[in-house]
């Protein structure tokens, strides 16, 4: 096992996309760390490489070069199954477009990540109801996503992300589709989750979001500035 001093360590990271004859350096060189229970915003303009960085940290996207160490696990030295287990155990994802299943209720959407945990249905049901309550949607647990506002759908996405109690929450532009007031409420909710012990990493191009973070990593042209 690799010796580490931080929860997440990014070492010599590079990512190149090949599109026909064109090579795009999404990440040219990145080295930084994130400590346990930090609230980090990764800020950068569109195309700066911040979403690529997030997907690599979430064990979803192989880097061209470098290492991503999370809790001393070298993510891209793990087998495919181990990486899937890593995502299930460590990571809660929140996407800009919520990615809720439209024909499933709030409760069923939140229970989805627990499908592979092997727990009994009654326990899964209770855990899902608990997190739905934590995000303030207890009264709407049996509604379908299109019966909810954008902010409420984002809360469902957050509930789904935290239902397996992951130590790390990765959010890609979580407020991108929300008005400023709702965006503020969502960021406060993420801040609360951070205070409850989750390490929160939010990718954003909105400078207002950084006020909720304990630290900001700026990304520009595939390079990071901590």
């Amino acid at each position: 096992m690799t010796q580490v001093n931080h929860l997440i360590e990014i070492r010599g990271l590079k990512k190149t996309y090949q599109s026909g004859d064109t090579t795009v350096d999404a990440i040219r060189q990145m080295d930084f760390f994130i400590d346990d229970e930090e609230f980090i915003t990764i800020m950068g303009q569109s195309g700066s490489g911040k979403s690529t960085l997030l997907s690599i940290m979430g064990a979803l996207n192989h880097p061209s070069q470098g290492q991503v160490l999370v809790d001393s696990l070298d993510l891209y030295a793990l087998s495919t199954e181990q990486r899937a287990d890593f995502r299930s155990e460590y990571i809660g994802f929140i996407f800009q477009s919520f990615q809720l299943i439209p024909y499933l209720t709030v409760l069923e959407n939140v229970m989805l990540p627990m499908a592979v945990t092997g727990q009994k249905k009654k326990i899964k049901n209770q855990m899902a109801l608990d997190v739905i309550d934590r995000v303030g949607l207890a009264a709407k647990a049996h509604r379908l996503p299109d019966q909810l506002s954008g902010g409420e759908q984002e809360r469902v996405a957050i509930a789904r992300a935290i239902v397996n109690k992951p130590p790390i929450i990765l959010a890609d532009e979580p407020t991108g589709n929300l008005d400023s007031q709702t965006a503020g409420e969502i960021m406060q909710l993420l801040q609360t989750l951070n205070r409850q012990g989750h390490t929160v990493i939010v990718v954003t191009h909105n400078p207002e979001v950084t006020q909720y973070a304990t630290r900001t990593v700026r990304v520009q042209d595939g390079l990071c500035f901590v």
Partner: protein
């Protein structure tokens, strides 16, 4: 606020990912258990039959009757039991027929008839049959009787 990284905090999760801490039975273990159960079940059926076959394949039964129709004397039965190659000696319920199970590879049958001659016993050989075949015939007879 920065928190110091504690490698022990997520040990359980790390062990799950690395496969050190198993989550229930894996497919391989389950497959092995099912195979063992099936093999055990098959062996319960087949092993006794195989053992029985190998232990009786060289045995024959000779069924004798005294010409006089009287009961078999105890000393004759005891003497036959001592002959090399004799597996068992049994009488029928009327004590008139003697069923001697012997190893056909030995001189047991010749020694038996010699023993009868030595005692001047008038003996009739009623049948000489493979031991397993004889046993199956008796078992089938019993089943036929039991079935209404």
């Amino acid at each position: 606020m920065k928190m110091a990284y504690d490698p022990e905090k997520y040990r359980e999760k790390r062990e799950k990912v690395l496969g050190i801490k198993k989550r229930g039975l894996g497919f391989g273990a389950m497959a092995v258990i099912i195979c063992v159960v099936i093999l055990a079940g098959l062996s319960v059926v087949t092993v006794p039959r195989a053992v029985s076959y190998f232990s009786t394949r060289n045995l024959d039964d000779a069924i004798f009757k005294l010409e006089s129709g009287s009961n078999w004397p105890e000393n004759v039965i005891a003497a036959i039991q001592k002959i090399d190659g004799i597996a068992s000696v049994t009488e029928d319920k009327n004590h008139t027929r003697l069923v001697v199970t012997y190893d056909r590879r030995t001189a047991a049958f010749a020694n038996m008839t010699a023993a009868f001659s030595k005692r001047n016993l008038g003996v009739t050989l009623l049948n000489q049959v493979n031991h397993r075949q004889h046993r199956n015939t008796l078992e089938n007879k019993e089943e036929t009787i039991e079935t209404p």
